[in-house]
Amino acid sequence: MTNFNWLVDGSIVGVYLVATMVVGIMVRKYVGKVEHFLVAGREVDVFLGIASLAATEFGVITCMYTAQNGYKYGFAGTTPGILMATAMLFVGVTGFCITPLRHAGVMTIPELFEKRFGPRVRWAAGMVIVLGGLLNMGVFLRITGEFLVLVGGFDVSHLERNVVVMMTVLLLLGTIYTVVGGMLSVLVTDFLQFIVMSFGLLAVTLLILTKIGWSSLAATVAERHGPGGFNPFVCRGMGWQYVLFNALECLAGALTWQTMISRLLAARDARTGRRIYTRTSFFFACRFVLPGIWGIAALTVLAPEALAGLPQTFQGQNSSLYAMPVFLGQFVPVGLMGLLLAAMLAADMSSTSSYMITWASVIYNDILAPLRKTPWSEKRGLRWNRAIVSLIGVFLLFYGLWYPLKGDVYAYLLVTGTIYLASISTMLIACCYWERANSWGATAAIIVGAAIPIACLVFEQVRNMPPDEVQLWRCYSGIVAFAATGAAMVLFSLLKPQTAPPQSTASLEPPVVHSS
């Protein structure tokens, strides 16, 4: 049983859903070109950019894995958020890589690579970005569906059926406005979703802090996790390898994660893009700390046997993932429950729609378009983009249904993200700042950067590893992937005979820099 009331809470959720769909579909009339569809005509300013980036990077899946981190590791579980905030601040303040990237006037990172490494590298980079991105996003829907079933108090004896219904409805809602309005609809709905999501997040956190109290939360962490609950370096299941792998992932993510970069590339100019990064940076700490508090609250309030009553699917190594929704279902009162669910739906829809449009932009711009001798007309290009977004939706539904998730959700997301983060971030840094970098190095980086995480995923599926071992295995393999990719880039670039002087990184600069 949960506190969800269909009349009160259901109405709040209904109003939110109708408002989002109306707004998302209304802006369709402003989409006339492929550039409008993919990067909103590059007209995004600072505050819309902040709202959109924050909404995109906080989905139900984020809330679930950050709360799981809080439940399993205490306050130390928020370490990735602090690292991400630091990485965003560093990149935003220095303009490291993102300034030359925005100056180049491209729509995607692989398009930039074509200027330095040639069309084949662009195509291969597009492939690994899409592969890593779609595998990463593939688990979003199922986790969201499970969250809604648990918090909303739906019948868990028909768990699979209810999760599938939730997944399908959520996907349809997000896909409809993304297909018709592209990035423009995504941005405007992101803005609405950011506001709803923030109110819900804050209200529930304040309720926890006032009703349960900080002292109880800290005492529970001290009792259950000891010093490791406050220090990631001595926390069981974390340690230096976890911190190092996360630091690498966070920097690479800030530089190349397609949903972040799409905001930079949609920004009016490089300065606006940097300000979006700088001013959103602390949000990345918040997105781990606030749901982390929810997870710690679940640890404080729920009796250990509370999770034993869950269906078999939720038992086993990943049961800690479901502690937070079970806790919220019992803790949040009627009325606030509606706001919470609307907030979580907002979080999910903004992430799903943004992720679909950004991966679609890479498929269209870097995988399909280069294969054609003559470019598509604007009309045809828009049709292709809409078809690609729809097909991504179909993939997400089927992958979410069939992929058996093992270990931490966050660790899975890190590994799948590494498939492209390691190679693309290495290539981007080399492309922007190392004149000796060339196509041999780039190709080697792509192969090595993708092969190690994929081998890791296959290996852990084949060999039945215990959860703690999976976690460590993923951290080590991630660190090795970054190191090996960097080495491959340098080694193979140096091995390629120099037939002509290397292309200067200055060629990435535009003739005239657009200023606000």
């Binding site: 802006v27 402003y30 989409v31 006339g32 070109k33 409008h36 909103a40 005509g41 007209e43 995004v44 300013d45 600072v46 505050f47 819309l48 902040i50 709202a51 306050f75 928020t78 602090i82 423009l184 941005l187 405007v188 803005f191 950011f194 506001i195 923030s198 109110f199 997040l201 804050l202 956190t205 304040l206 802090l209 900080w214 800290a218 010093p227 406050f230 220090n231 602390f282 949000f283 700490a285 918040c286 700390v289 606030l290 508090i293 604007e378 009309k379 828009l382 049709r383």
Partner: protein, 52 residues
């Protein structure tokens, strides 16, 4: 400051930052959306290039 104090400060900073930034972004973002849509309206292709 002990390690509990650090996490307490961080939690409070997150709540305050989130509350402040949400209100500020909500107001400023509205103006930016209006300006963005106005600029895109001017940039729309002519009737014969409109998508169907």
């Amino acid at each position: 400051m002990d390690e509990h104090g650090f996490w307490w400060l961080l939690t409070i900073a997150c709540v305050l930052w989130y509350g402040t930034i949400t209100a500020y972004v909500a107001v400023r973002g509205c103006f930016e959306i209006r300006k963005m849509l106005a600029r895109l309206k001017e940039d729309r292709p002519t009737a014969d290039q409109q998508p169907q």
